[in-house]
């Protein structure tokens, strides 16, 4: 049943909350679909639903819980439609993950700055694999084709790079704060 139209002020409130929570929402969606190419569509569709249902949001209640419920529903719909079976977590698993709760802050500008520095510490080929995956959103089989590696080597390189980057950023944060 369509919702009653919201006042312009209510719509503006909901949309500004959306923008405020956008980095976390993107992180949430990205984690549940793992396919970068699906994330933007889901975030956009979540935005549309939130805008359409702006009238039902009550000021002072938990926007995050409301928006996350809508996003989770959109994730389920999209996975059902687009994701290959092995990439798709079952609805009950997604529910368990969503219920577990996620951090309030997904990442900070400070972390991003440290991460950019830490990237320089990666071996050139590992960095190339990270760029193909995280900048250009290629999947490991295509990265393997481009780099002339096996798919497993790409996966190993990406896994090691993630561990290296996590340790590096953590150390730099600790050093900066001490």
């Amino acid at each position: 049943m369509p919702s009653a139209p919201a006042s312009p002020e209510q719509t503006a409130l909901v949309q500004s909350l959306f923008v405020q929570h956008l980095p976390a929402l993107r992180g949430f969606v990205l984690s549940l679909v793992s396919d970068f190419s699906l994330v933007d569509d889901i975030v956009q569709e979540t935005f549309l639903v939130i805008t359409a249902k702006a009238a039902t949001f009550q000021r002072g209640t938990n926007f995050r819980a409301w928006a996350w419920t809508i996003a989770r529903y959109k994730v389920l719909q999209t996975l059902e439609k687009h994701a290959p079976v092995p990439d798709r977590l079952a609805p009950e698993v997604l529910d368990a993950l969503a219920a577990h709760g996620t951090a309030e802050t997904w990442y900070s500008d400070e972390q991003l700055q440290h991460l950019a520095k830490c990237m320089e510490g990666l071996a050139p080929k590992a960095r190339e694999a990270v760029e193909l995956r995280y900048q250009q959103a290629h999947r490991p089989p295509e990265i393997a084709t481009r780099l002339g590696w096996t798919v497993e080597s790409v996966h190993v390189a990406l896994s090691r790079a993630r561990v290296f980057l996590r340790d590096c950023v953590t150390q730099r944060m600790l050093a900066a704060n001490s």
Binding site: T11, R26, P86, W106, Y107, R133, R166
Partner: protein
């Protein structure tokens, strides 16, 4: 269950590497163990952080490639208020009606205010403020920033060494700029003249159009004026019709009426006779353009005929000749299969590189040319003159074989604007048997509407594929091909792929919308040869067919063979 096993499966999940069995195993872990769910979100957070870095880095490189930062000349005023505006190209325009207008407006308002939060900021692009509508023998000071007829112009400098161009501002003002000139587009209704000469025609909706210089500023309240700022000479303003306001550092605004003109010497205005003949008119520009085009067409015709007669030419479509109602395009290649033209489906004829040169336009999902080319070939060169009008978030087909047999060839523009060549080197029918080679990104939003020459040449003697962009080699790789290359039944500008058949595309697509589909643009010449054309020959084809000063990719300079 061990922590190590959980970590391993989670790493595989985030790389989209899980098998069905592994997914089941991971699901069991996630349902049963709060610790596993904790680990999931911990890794998810790092994955999202790196992706956030990747998107920001991609956007930054894109912005650099698109020259978002203006390069101001000394003494040039910076545009007031109209800072480098960014628009967000929405990858999904088909939003639900009713919500779309409100949502789009709100999104634009919100995200322009907070651009760092853009979720889809991969292709941030500066808004164009004008179009280059005519060009007569234009020579640009820096070939890398040269502009073609039909090209959109964003705020920034134009360094015109010689020749003349017409620029149509988005608000309607038309300017004829004569080289040598330094001209900076500021907004859709204002510009800065560093030096040189211009004539402006300003229709009603563009009233208020202004030209600023280091000596004076002209605001148009009427219809037509000219101004010149010669290097070493006194600047002049001439009004041919209507009314303009003229202001310099020493005086309040002075109104100049029809047939009035002033020369400014030592900041003092001196009346002089208005001289229309000192400024190039529309008719004179058109005449110069016609002469220029005739010369280029003649040179291209000769080169085109030589390409048709090349001993290895299998397909050569130039889209020339009297077409009438025909929906076929003759194959002029020397080795063409007799009576086997290209069949047009959906697409329409349109203007090509020059006025009077025909092209086919691909705009709708059904638009395509279908051809047949029997046989297998040890080597192959694909070459085309293409005008890309849009860079959707998916690959665009150039030449795509229908089949998935060993040796089948695919040629396309990749999702990120790279030139892609695929050949099937596996067993016939195996969707994972494709071997792809991609150049770096070649097509960027600032090239939309420009004609470029692209080519890919596979040389069986070295098993090497080389990609070319505007006559320059841009990437090269050994492909491991052990079969003859073939196209059989194939399409130009599209791919005979139905919904649900994405699996046929092998490893390239990541989702249904990601398969190579219809080209959004025009092609005005395409050739397929059963030989690897040399770099010199490809450069020669480019030089004889180039439209003004075509876009020169910086990548070509960096390419190491």
């Amino acid at each position: 269950m061990s922590d190590e096993r959980t970590q391993l499966l989670l790493q595989r999940y985030f790389d989209q590497m899980l098998t069905v069995e592994e997914r089941a195993e991971l699901s069991t872990m996630l349902l049963a163990s709060p610790r596993a769910r904790e680990d999931f979100w911990e890794l998810a957070r790092w994955n999202a952080l790196i992706r956030q870095w990747g998107e920001a880095e991609w956007g930054r490189r894109d912005a650099e490639a698109e020259g978002l930062l203006l390069r101001p000349l000394p003494a040039a005023p910076q545009p007031k208020k109209e800072k480098a505006r960014k628009v967000i190209p929405f990858p999904r325009p088909n939003w639900k009606i009713g919500v779309a207008a409100l949502a789009a407006a709100a999104v634009i308002a919100l995200f322009v205010a907070v651009p760092s939060l853009l979720p889809w900021n991969k292709r941030v692009q500066q808004m164009s403020v004008a179009v280059l509508t005519h060009s007569a023998d234009a020579v640009w000071a820096d070939s890398g920033t040269g502009k073609q007829r039909g090209e959109s112009l964003t705020p920034g400098w134009l360094h015109l060494k010689s020749g003349a161009v017409q620029i149509e501002f988005s608000r309607g003002a038309r300017v004829i700029l004569e080289g040598p000139a330094e001209f900076q587009l500021l907004t859709d209704n204002s510009a800065f003249l560093g030096s040189g000469k211009l004539r402006a025609q300003v229709p009603e909706p563009a009233h208020g159009f202004s030209v600023k210089t280091s000596k004076f500023a002209v605001t148009d309240y009427g219809t037509e004026f000219g101004c010149s700022l010669p290097i070493g000479g006194p600047p002049e303003v001439h009004v041919f019709n209507g009314l303009v306001g003229l202001q310099n550092a020493q005086s309040a605004e002075r109104k100049l009426h029809q047939n009035q003109a002033v020369q400014i010497v030592h900041d003092q205005m001196h009346d002089i006779p208005a001289r229309r003949d000192q400024f190039l008119s529309d008719e004179e520009l058109a005449q110069r353009e016609r002469t220029s085009v005739q010369g280029r067409l003649a040179a291209w015709h000769a080169a085109s005929q030589a390409l048709s007669e090349h001993p290895a030419a299998l397909v050569h479509l130039d889209f020339e000749g009297d077409r009438g109602w025909s929906r076929t395009v003759p194959n002029r290649a020397w080795r063409a299969v007799p009576g086997s033209p290209a069949n047009m489906v959906g697409c329409q004829f349109a203007e090509g590189r020059w006025p009077g040169k025909s092209a086919v336009e691909f705009s709708r999902a059904e638009d395509r040319l279908r051809l047949n080319l029997p046989g297998g070939f040890e080597s192959m060169t694909l070459i085309a003159w293409v005008r890309v009008d849009s860079l959707p978030d998916r690959p665009q087909s150039l030449i795509m074989g229908d089949g998935m047999g060993t040796g089948d060839v695919q040629w396309y523009i990749g999702r990120w604007g790279e030139l892609g060549f695929g050949v099937h080197i596996g067993k016939a029918g195996d969707p994972t048997g494709w071997r792809y080679h991609h150049s770096e990104t070649l097509f960027t939003p600032d090239m939309l509407g420009s004609w470029v020459c692209i080519a890919s040449a596979y040389d069986s003697t070295t098993d090497t594929l080389t990609n070319y962009f505007n006559g320059q080699p841009v990437s090269s790789e050994k492909l491991g091909v052990r079969a003859l290359l073939q196209l059989e039944t194939f399409e130009i500008g599209n791919w005979a792929l139905r919904d649900g058949e994405q699996w046929r595309a092998g490893v390239v697509p990541r989702s249904a919308k990601d398969s190579a589909r219809n080209l959004q643009g025009r092609i005005d010449e395409v050739a397929i040869l059963a030989a690897p054309l040399s770099a010199e020959k490809i450069l020669q084809i480019y030089e004889s067919g180039r439209n003004d000063q075509a876009v020169a990719p910086t990548l070509a300079k960096n390419f190491q063979k």
